[in-house]
Symmetry: C2
Subunit: 339 residues, 2 copies
């Protein structure tokens, strides 16, 4: 039924070593022989057995992408960038979500190990110890947006603090003094950083940092919706809302609309991530642009560098800068240089 290298070798009257050499372009082979082997292989529909090859070479030509969740455009974009890069390097992409649960993450790590030549991990809840405990020291790893500062790992992080700071500063510069924030998921790294960027900007402008203006959220539209409802009944109503991501901003706007509060006239709204829809909403959502699909590309390029360079690969911790995107929802149309 299934055709192996041996079948090809027999039919071509050569040894399996020669067939192997043809397929791997390793070692010298006559043009004539090569051609004969290739033809017969095609006729026989021969494909090298990936497992056998992996076993022999201890390479899998596959890299793993471990994500906290597979929901929403953010991850979809990361996957897209990753796939693109992986194909370019003639590798394969093993994707898995980890459900944010520590045990499941460990299981996922262990299970990936041995199946991949390298691993990109995007999981806010992971720490260096878990990583070291569950992965062989030799497996190249790139951390994407993880809360691990350890210089023993390559990592890529979004400049959450800077981005949030920039957006809030922008609002302040345009005379907003009561700015509420809808926070991200409790304990989430991005969430905390965005919050601290928000606070820093307020402090810097000598504005009060108050728990009364900080509303819980979990990055879903629903949470944004609920938070906005709460904000609306505040005695001294804020003039601006900074949502920790676009989904929540969208939810918030939809709540404001429901209550017939004009955006941005009565309340300005801004988000974070700049997901594609932000551009197409009405009003267009002001946001902090994160080069998401680029993130996937960068992570994988770094990973392949690590895989290739092996031991003399130098690890780096990079911070990806964000960019302020001003649309209508924050009430400041003009293109001006706020920084």
């Amino acid at each position: 039924m299934k055709v192996t290298i041996k079948d090809v070798a027999e039919r071509a009257n050569v040894s399996i070593a020669t067939v192997s050499r043809v397929f791997n372009k390793s070692g010298p082979v006559t043009d004539q022989t090569r051609h004969r082997v290739l033809t017969i292989a095609r006729d026989l529909r021969y494909t090298p057995n990936a497992s056998a090859r992996s076993l022999s070479t201890s390479k899998t030509d596959t890299v793993g992408l471990l994500l906290p969740d597979l929901y929403g455009e953010f991850f979809s974009e990361v996957i897209r960038g990753a796939d693109q890069t992986v194909q370019q390097y003639h590798h394969h992409l093993l994707v898995s979500s980890s459900h944010n649960n520590r045990n499941e993450i460990e299981a996922a790590l262990r299970v990936m190990r041995g199946r991949v030549d390298g691993l990109v991990i995007m999981s806010p809840h992971i720490d260096a110890a878990t990583l070291n405990a569950n992965l062989p020291k030799s497996l190249p790893v790139v951390l994407l947006n993880c809360y691990v500062k350890d210089s023993s790992f390559d990592s890529l992080n979004i400049d959450n603090i800077g981005g949030a700071h920039q957006m809030v500063k922008h609002l302040i510069q345009h005379n907003h003094t009561r700015i509420a924030i809808i926070k991200g998921t409790e304990q989430n790294y991005d969430a905390e950083e965005r919050l601290s960027g928000y606070r820093a900007a307020l402090r810097e402008a000598n504005l009060e940092v108050s728990a009364d203006l900080e509303f819980p959220g979990d990055f879903t539209e629903e949470a944004g919706f609920q938070a906005a409802k709460k904000i609306l009944v505040l005695p001294h109503r804020p003039t601006a809302i900074f949502a920790s991501n676009d989904s929540m901003a969208i939810g918030a706007i939809s709540a404001l609309r429901e209550s017939e509060v004009q955006v941005p006239e009565e309340i300005a709204v801004a988000g974070f991530d700049d997901i594609p829809i932000s551009k197409y909403m009405k009003p267009g959502l002001s946001s902090v642009h994160v080069p998401i699909s680029n993130l996937g590309v960068l992570a994988l390029e770094r990973l392949f560098a690590a895989v290739t360079e092996k031991d003399n690969h130098i690890k780096k911790q990079d911070i990806i800068t964000t960019e302020l995107v001003v649309r209508e929802s924050c009430g400041i149309h003009e293109t001006n240089n706020d920084d």
Copy 2:
């Protein structure tokens, strides 16, 4: 460096066969022995080598998901559903996009073969011949939204015709008589079916089917935008636009807005797919709901059935029904039973 079954066996004073039996729960082992092996394995951080195992068993515990593209929420949702199901069955997910190019699809197929126990293929451009030529007869395959009617394959298709028909009929019932369509990508299966559903509904209502009302598109927001611009300059302006997917509908709405044409008052707009944002837009986008993430789940469940049942698996061609979702963009608020 790397620890193998042999290391565990030596340390535990048993043969490798016993260790193997412990890990696979195949064959009898004393509780005492099992415990000793397990403990030592844990201490040694032993993980069975996946390649060796695959070579030996010719199973990979991995299934492949071949998508035409990785762009947008649609695929992100399919992947999510797929991942969820795959985890449930303790398998892994190898994802790849095929770039819609025939050669690349063939390459992807060939490369997947041998790495996976089964394959879900979503690729409008593929035909039965290509499939047969590049895949071993024994590999379970589920076609997702492919234009292959062949009963020798399991397949899942969206009821594009029915969905489009239903939406256009709905518009007609509410007194729209000039309804433009923004078509999907040329030669694309979904695109053609949605177009024919549109035409059927018009014909059924004795409305003219005219090329003047059919505008090219390619499923991107940009295309929707451009098409709407063209529609706006039409001498006898349509009162409704049916976009072949939500992205184009969103692009169209944004073009109309730019020209200060009221939606739905002046022109009603409807889409297809019911991607999550549709709900949060203003106006909410009327659309044809496709249970996307469910699609991923269903496809993988079918695949696992095929993998498990092996030879006595009975292939089926299923059509997934869609559902009309009426929001504001088509101008008919009331919840009524249109069918």
